[in-house]
């Protein structure tokens, strides 16, 4: 591992574009868990390849969490020995099922919608600070112009006139912007709508049907990973959101800094654009 120039204690690995160093996988986990150094956070914030890898790692971690939670579901609740419960002064066998059941329910529901530790909060807060620092108006204007051009290349159309989404809304999720991280699976052909709400919250709506994709909503933007072939993705950017990231089918990610109050629409074939 070799450090990025000026990056302090950054754990990185070489071989990136142009010989640049990048965060190793362990550092990416630390970023996601809110245990990264300032240098690692700064690198994660500014390096597109590392952010792409960060997204993939995040998807893996969520998929793992879902898998083990699913394996838990329906399992028998523990049945402790009466002598043990007596010894520790816990309620006896008569009261045990209700007590354990309540605790188990609380514990499982905590896991199911776990606000992923305070990790994301810390990471998000750090990124938010960095976002503000990196968003001087000239820079933001340049990025917005570049993003608009990039988006037009992808869509072949204008970003100014999104098509209305006709499908009925089948699922709605809403999350506070600060520190929230949310993953929803978007089936084949589904339409994803990210709807602006009040400044302190972001909302995401899904409708229709399509390929598997993960939609992540967090402080610094929205991230859609996975194939979105055949789907329409409409993004309306809430006031508090600075960035929108779209990754498709493992190909080159398209990163868009969306100007506020804009709406973006993209229609693409599965894997047709990389």
């Amino acid at each position: 591992m070799s450090p990025v120039a000026g990056a302090g204690d950054l754990s990185a690995r070489g071989g990136g574009p142009g010989g640049a160093d990048h965060l190793d996988d362990g550092a990416l986990v630390r970023v996601l868990d809110g245990e990264a150094s300032k240098a690692e956070l700064e690198h994660a914030r500014s390096c597109v390849p590392c952010r792409a890898r960060l997204g993939r790692l995040e998807v893996r971690l969520h998929a793992f969490g879902r898998a083990v939670a699913e394996a838990d579901a329906g399992g028998a609740e523990p049945s402790y020995d009466a002598a043990f419960l007596d010894a520790i002064g816990a309620p006896g066998p008569t009261d045990q099922p209700a007590m354990v059941s309540a605790a188990a329910k609380e514990s499982r529901s905590t896991t199911a919608r776990r606000p992923r530790r305070t990790v994301s909060l810390r990471w998000a807060a750090a990124l938010a600070i960095l976002t503000v620092a990196a968003s001087a108006p000239p820079v933001r204007a340049f990025v917005a112009r570049a993003a608009t051009a990039m988006w037009s290349m992808v869509t072949g159309g204008s970003v100014e006139s999104p098509e209305p989404v006709a499908e009925p809304i089948v699922s709605t999720v809403e999350t506070a912007v600060v520190g929230s991280l949310l993953t929803v699976v978007v089936p084949q052909g589904m339409t994803v709508r990210l709807v602006p709400t009040e400044a302190s919250a972001a909302a995401a709506r899904l409708s229709g049907g399509g390929p598997q994709a993960d939609l992540l909503v967090r402080t610094d933007g929205f991230q859609v990973t996975g194939a979105i072939g055949g789907a329409t993705l409409e993004v309306s950017v809430p006031p508090a959101i600075e960035r929108v990231r779209v990754e498709a089918a493992g190909r080159m990610p398209v990163v868009v800094d969306a100007p506020r109050d804009s709406a973006l629409t993209v229609e693409r074939e599965n894997g047709g654009t990389g």
């Binding site: 754990s11 190793d24 996988d25 362990g26 550092a27 990416l28 986990v29 630390r30 868990d33 245990e35 993939r56 790692l57 998807v59 893996r60 971690l61 998929a63 793992f64 969490g65 898998a67 083990v68 699913e70 394996a71 838990d72 579901a73 329906g74 399992g75 028998a76 609740e77 523990p78 049945s79 402790y80 020995d81 043990f84 010894a87 520790i88 002064g89 816990a90 007590m99 354990v100 605790a103 188990a104 609380e106 514990s107 499982r108 905590t110 896991t111 776990r114 530790r117 699976v185 390929p211 598997q212 994709a213 993960d214 990973t225 996975g226 194939a227 990754e247 089918a249 493992g250």
Partner: protein, 173 residues
């Protein structure tokens, strides 16, 4: 700390999550998971006032439970039991499930447990403790490594699981 009342309160607070973690760690072995929970809380009771020096009782309980599983797993008899019991550990189908759905679900559960079982024990502990929300420092203390290496262990364990559990499915489909 270690009076019956305090231990009872800690038991009420932590037993379900600790049991869930140990159940995952053992590949769904409810008997061993339950035994390990009891073992951890009895150790807490026995520790008496010494436990007042424990900075983080929750992490201590997980470490004692994990060590108990580790010790039991290392006996030949427990290993044989595990082999014979493992196939029967998946929860039965829910009554409301259609037969195909039940089979599919049971197969997914079996696959998750088998994949976890294939991991080196340290990797399994690291991943599952992270899933319980422990900090890297706490995980490092539990498995006897440095805080800085926990992220690498987690990433490596995920790499090993990715194929078996189709963790990249959302990206690859």
């Amino acid at each position: 700390m270690s009076t019956g009342q305090d231990v009872a309160a800690l038991f009420h607070e932590h037993n379900a999550a600790l049991h869930r973690y140990l159940l995952r760690l053992t590949g769904g072995d409810d008997a061993r998971a339950t035994d390990a929970v009891q073992h951890a809380f009895l150790r807490l009771l026995e520790a008496g006032d010494d436990v007042r020096n424990v900075r983080n009782v929750r992490a201590w309980l997980y470490r004692v439970g994990t060590n108990a599983i580790h010790e039991w797993t290392n006996t030949a008899q427990r290993r044989e039991d595990l082999m014979s019991e493992h196939a029967h550990n998946a929860p039965g189908p829910k009554a409301a499930d259609a037969p195909d759905e039940s089979l599919e679900r049971a197969e997914r559960i079996r696959a998750v447990r088998a994949a976890l079982d294939e991991l080196p024990e340290r990797d399994r502990i690291v991943l599952l403790m992270r899933e319980e929300g422990f900090k890297h420092r706490e995980i490092a203390e539990a498995v006897g490594t440095t805080t800085g290496s926990v992220g690498t262990l987690i990433a490596r364990a995920l790499d090993r699981l990715a194929g078996a559990l189709d963790l990249d499915r959302a990206e690859a489909s």
